[in-house]
């Protein structure tokens, strides 16, 4: 089916692989709604409890849903469309800070889309895409805050690390090791979510086709 409701045969044999069928659109909408729901319900609760790694956990859920989406709708742009819809749904939830989560959502979708478009739809690319998307959750504040406050924020970060390492008696190089360990932890969580999403989508396809 193409965008005008005709199948490929009816459009004179012209292949239009990027056109999404009604069912594809419904899959994208439903998974986007689930992602937005998890951002709203779980995100609000984790934010209120001020728990560490809450961004990583939310991104892991998002990765799971994005991999499921690409596995069910094997067309370029499906994950990005899902991300844009979730970001717009976030706009409608007025009452909080929307700029930062919106950028995060679109960037995670973009990274996942790039990984799965360039590398093809497979378990390996869902793992790589998951890693990239979850690593973004760690990098995100360091990108958005300089955007919001200007590049002086990076110098402030640098000075805070120096002052903190002096105060705690730790070498600045060790702090970099700690930061790298956090990045790796995020990457591992993203990889697990990607593989879990791939496994789930395989099972879901079998169950749905019954």
């Amino acid at each position: 089916m193409d965008d005008t409701g005709k199948s490929l045969g009816e459009t004179g044999g012209r292949e239009r692989p990027h056109r999404l069928s009604t069912k594809d659109l419904v899959y994208i909408a439903v998974l986007a709604a689930l992602w937005a729901g998890s951002e709203n319900i779980l995100g609000a609760q984790l934010h209120a409890m001020n728990l560490p790694f809450s961004g990583a956990a939310l991104t892991a859920i998002a990765v799971f849903l994005m991999v499921t989406c690409r596995s069910l709708v094997r067309k370029a742009g499906s994950i990005l469309l899902m991300g844009i819809v979730v970001a717009l749904l976030k706009v409608l939830s007025i009452g909080g800070i929307v700029l930062s989560p919106m950028i995060a959502i679109v960037m995670e979708a973009l990274l996942m889309e790039l990984a799965m478009t360039l590398g093809g739809t497979s378990q390996a690319t869902s793992l790589i895409g998951g890693m990239l998307a979850d690593m973004w959750a760690f990098v995100h504040p360091f990108v958005v805050q300089p955007l919001l406050f200007g590049t002086s924020m990076l110098i402030i970060y640098n000075k805070t690390i120096s002052a903190g390492s002096k105060m705690l008696g730790i070498e600045p190089a060790n702090i970099i090791v700690i930061i790298l360990a956090l990045v790796v932890a995020h990457a591992v969580l993203g990889a697990i979510a990607g593989v879990a999403g791939w496994g789930f989508s395989d099972r879901a396809k079998r169950i749905l086709s019954r």
């Binding site: 409701g5 439903v30 709604a33 819809v85 706009v91 700029l99 919001l148």
Partner: protein, 249 residues
């Protein structure tokens, strides 16, 4: 202060083009300008919010904790001389003063961006934004996906709450089985949601979704039409950008 007390958010209609222009202009100026020149985008965004989105001033409360923290940290940690214009740089060689100016500059930039984003979110109509996105992406399906996601969200939230309660009543979500319970919750909710997709797509096609989209598209003529207010905002933004860069040069 009277501005902040008003409950009315949109005093004048601002179309999607005006909102996009306001956001783009404010972001460009906030990123490109520094020091005392940041007063220009601040005055520009504040003036536009005053006319079109007075409720945006209320969103500045999200910076109430962040701005003092940034000013205090930069005052204490900044050691270099501040590179501001001459009247300020005279004081900037004193210890802590340069850091204070840097903190104020960073805060001013944050205020401009938060005001602009808030004004965009409050003034833009989602229907116009989706139509603009559809015409830019040349896809006729975006509003369908967005509308369906928006309408189905409460239903899916109910499914996930019911699943969560069911697992919890069976002894789930304790420390020893937290991972398994989370996996069950996620897979069960997603599978339940996906099971509805077939019905939804049949229902959409039964309601002639594809042909309805084509008729609506030809009737609406693609892009939303810019209003006079949008043109005024566009001209004002271009003037402010040119003026700002002229001052900077």
């Amino acid at each position: 202060m009277g501005i902040l007390r008003q409950s009315q958010t949109n005093t004048e209609p601002l179309g999607v083009y005006g909102a996009v222009t306001l956001l783009a202009g404010a972001l460009l100026l906030a990123i490109a300008l520094n020091s005392i020149l940041l007063l220009i985008p601040m005055a520009y965004v504040a003036a536009l919010c005053l006319f079109f989105s007075r409720g945006s001033f209320r969103d500045l409360k999200q910076l109430v904790m962040l701005v003092p923290a940034v000013i205090v940290v930069s005052t204490l940690l900044w050691q270099e001389e501040y590179n501001g214009p001459s009247p300020i740089s005279g004081f900037a060689s004193f210890p802590f003063v340069s850091g204070f100016f840097v903190g104020v500059e960073m805060s001013a930039r944050a205020i401009v961006i938060v005001l602009a984003v808030s004004a965009f979110v409050r003034t833009v109509k989602v229907t116009e934004l989706t139509r603009l996105l559809e015409s830019v992406s040349r896809s006729k399906s975006f509003s369908f996906v967005f509308g369906l996601a928006f309408n189905i969200r409460p239903y899916l939230e109910r499914i996930s709450r019911d699943t969560f309660n069911a697992i919890k009543m069976r002894g789930g979500f304790r420390l020893r089985n937290l991972a398994t319970s989370t996996r069950y919750l996620l897979s069960s909710t997603t599978l339940n949601a996906l099971a509805k997709c077939q019905d939804i797509s049949y229902a959409a096609e039964a309601r002639a979704f594809r042909s309805a989209t084509n008729i609506a598209d030809s009737a609406l003529g693609g892009c939303p039409t810019p209003s006079v207010t949008d043109f005024v905002v566009l001209i004002a933004t271009v003037a402010v950008v040119i003026l700002s860069f002229a001052f900077k040069a």
